[in-house]
């Protein structure tokens, strides 16, 4: 037992007094229970199977502190334009607080509810109370408990049954203060047969900070959610962001996960599938310098006829380390489950590392489940082929690396987001020879 009190716990009594939702007994219970769990377990350690490749012990020494003042932040408009999607409804969170002034909700159908989480709690929104915490389990790991205990704000989005949104909703997380702790909590609810596109973007203007974000998505029967996560945190940032999805019967969910930034970044994408629900999880992680990028996915096939498709790709340069842990659990009665998982890694330097661990736990007997992983260098036959077509070796290697990553980028169907992601990929592989006029 450590004699030094964890700095986050030491700061908690003062923090808890100013967190939103003071008057809500159900929330106070959740917070108290989460705090107790965090006090006894702390942040996850590599002794936990799901965290064996990622050591987060640095956080206890850093003591990142929450930003309490929610004054209107000053953010360079030009800079913001890089990340705030045109032709989308956007919700901006700055240093852990919803900022209405920077958000853009014009033209949103009146039936769709979009509100800051703190405000929704203040108003004791009943729908919020009924869905909150239904897609995520606080006991899963320390960051979820931490988030439950400490979240300062976030957004609550409710899209009623049958409503089909024609533009994406973007939640843009920005951290602007050095040493800040941004703990945010989002809840996204799609009613039966609703359809929406949801984009979460994580960026920072400060250098070192900690972002702990949890989003719950509750997707109704036969509803359709296309979700994107674009993580472009600053170079020295710590990022722990999880999306926890609960798909009702026949619901469809496509998720595209782009992990580009952060010194130590961990992403958890979990989904629970009811009968005949389908999910597609795609991911691209690019690591350079000393970045550590960890991707954890979990697909729970709880009922029969579910379909899951998963493809994650990693490109790792310098001394970067990439982790992919993909877990698929097929419950005993989830017969006729159809699941495939694929993880491919490209190592661009001898010091780069990729750890890949697909985990299939199958308790049903009539299922179709497959998985494949590769870790390797560029295919030399392809390099030679391009050279034989007049292209110099360096450009050939750049082209092939870019092509490997671009396959995932091309899956993005929101035009403005495609441009954003492509720009990020190009910026992370500064290479001549890749001109952008793909005709």
């Amino acid at each position: 037992m450590s004699t030094v009190l964890n700095p986050y716990l030491a700061a908690y009594p003062a923090l808890s007094a100013v967190l939103p939702g003071q008057s809500l007994a159900w929330l106070q219970d959740i917070r108290a229970e989460a705090c107790a769990r965090f006090a006894s377990h702390g942040f996850p350690t590599p002794r936990e199977e799901d965290w064996r490749y990622s050591n987060v012990s640095a956080l206890d020494k850093k003591n990142f502190a929450p930003v309490l003042a929610a004054a209107t932040p000053v953010i360079d408009a030009e800079w913001l334009r890089q990340y705030q999607l045109a032709d989308a409804w956007s919700l901006v969170l700055v240093d852990g607080h919803f900022c209405a002034a920077l958000s853009q909700l014009h033209g949103l159908p009146a039936t769709v509810q979009v509100v800051g989480m703190a405000e929704a709690l203040q108003e004791a929104d009943e729908r919020l109370a009924s869905y909150f915490g239904t897609a995520v389990n606080s006991a899963e790991h320390g960051f979820i408990a931490f988030n439950n205990a400490c979240f300062t704000d976030g957004v609550f989005v409710h899209i009623p049954a049958q409503v089909v949104l024609d533009k994406p909703i973007q939640c843009l997380h920005i951290v602007t203060q050095e040493g800040a702790l941004a703990t945010t909590r989002n809840l996204l609810v799609l009613g039966d047969q609703a359809a929406a596109q949801w984009v979460e973007t994580f960026v920072g203007t400060a250098v070192g900070y900690l972002s702990v974000a949890v989003t719950e998505a509750v997707v109704g029967q036969n509803a359709s959610l296309t979700a994107y996560k674009v993580q472009c945190e600053s170079e020295q940032a710590y990022h722990f962001g999880g999306l926890y999805i609960k798909q009702a019967r026949d619901a469809r969910c496509n998720h595209h996960n782009f992990a580009f930034g952060g010194l130590l970044a961990r992403s958890d994408i979990h989904t629970d599938l009811a009968q005949a629900a389908e999910c597609e999880l795609n991911g691209l992680y690019l690591g350079g310098k000393r970045q550590h990028i960890d991707n954890h996915t979990r697909i729970n096939h709880n009922q029969p006829y579910g379909i899951s498709r998963e493809t994650y790709k990693g490109v790792l340069a310098d001394r970067a380390r990439g982790v992919f842990q993909g877990r698929v659990v097929v419950a005993e009665n989830a017969q006729k489950t159809d699941s495939t998982m694929n993880n491919r890694n490209l190592l661009l330097s001898a010091d780069a590392e990729a750890d890949t661990k697909p985990q299939l736990e199958i308790y049903a007997d009539d299922v179709k489940c497959g998985h494949g992983v590769t870790v390797g260098q560029l295919d030399e036959k392809s390099v030679f082929y391009l050279q034989s077509r007049c292209i110099d070796e360096e450009t050939a290697r750049n082209m092939l690396t870019f092509a490997f990553a671009n396959e995932m980028v091309d899956k993005v169907k929101v035009k403005a987001l495609h441009e954003l992601v492509l720009a990020q990929v190009l910026a992370r592989f500064p290479q001549q020879g890749i001109n952008q006029d793909w005709l």
Partner: protein, 251 residues
């Protein structure tokens, strides 16, 4: 144009080419035939600069320069083109992008300006049409999911765009049905010119009905054991390689 002298090549310490001699002048078409595993693709690869081979002796001089000393892309820009026996699939790189990048690399090497985007499209579309390919192929990833015949046609498309001086076709006819063979042969014939030479590796006389060679060579066990005119191919078609190989042993 190309002069190969006593060329010997090892792969993993195994002797594959055991003293190749070949003189190719501009305007000529040379067919190289020979049994499986005799070293035909090895020779093609060596000329275009693929790594993994060790040249243990001899030389290859191309337009007065030491070909074997050049990196592969320089050989290509100098006009050496290999149509692969097994073209490589490159997911994520579109055909049209590769064609443009390749053409611009040659133009830059020759001190010319980059090709204008509109002119380029006009050029490419004309060539695509001549090869009776669907324009959709341009926007697909290089060779990805192409049938065997489509891949071979795609190689000829690249050749038609790059207009090389020394064209090495490694079994471009294998796997083509008769209609596709005619189209490919027309494509090759339209490139015939007094300042361009061809090396055609093939197993089949059929190709040589459409593209008439000036010389036919038989490569067996890493050596050219017989050379002759077009009539040699007919003889091979009839008798196989056995009689030549026996002759070599007793010689």
């Amino acid at each position: 144009m190309l002069s190969i002298k006593d060329l010997t090549v090892n792969v993993n310490d195994k002797k594959i080419l055991k003293g190749i001699n070949l003189e190719i002048k501009a305007g000529e078409i040379h067919a190289i035939m020979g049994p499986n595993g005799s070293g035909k693709s090895t020779l093609s690869h060596i000329l275009s600069g693929k790594s993994g081979y060790e040249v243990t002796g001899g030389s290859a001089t191309y337009q007065g320069k030491d070909l074997l000393a050049m990196p592969p892309e320089i050989r290509a820009r100098e006009g050496v083109f290999l149509a692969f026996q097994y073209p490589v699939e490159i997911p994520g790189v579109s055909n049209v992008y590769l064609l443009k990048a390749a053409l611009n690399a040659v133009r830059k090497y020759n001190g010319d300006d980059e090709v204008d985007a509109m002119d380029f499209l006009t050029l490419v579309k004309a060539k695509v049409k001549a090869l009776e390919m669907d324009e959709k192929f341009l926007y697909r990833a290089v060779n990805e999911g192409f049938s065997g015949g489509e891949k071979k046609r795609n190689e000829i498309l690249q050749m038609a765009i790059l207009e090389p001086k020394l064209c090495i076709l490694d079994e471009t006819d294998s796997g083509l049905d008769i209609d596709a063979l005619k189209i490919v042969a027309d494509g090759v014939n339209s490139l015939r010119s007094p300042d361009r030479a061809f090396i055609m590796v093939t197993h089949y006389q059929r190709l040589l009905d459409y593209i008439k060679p000036d010389f036919v060579h038989v490569l067996a066990h890493g050596q050219i054991i017989k050379s002759g005119g077009p009539e040699l191919a007919l003889e091979l078609e009839e008798k196989g390689y056995g009689w030549l190989e026996e002759g070599q042993v007793t010689a």
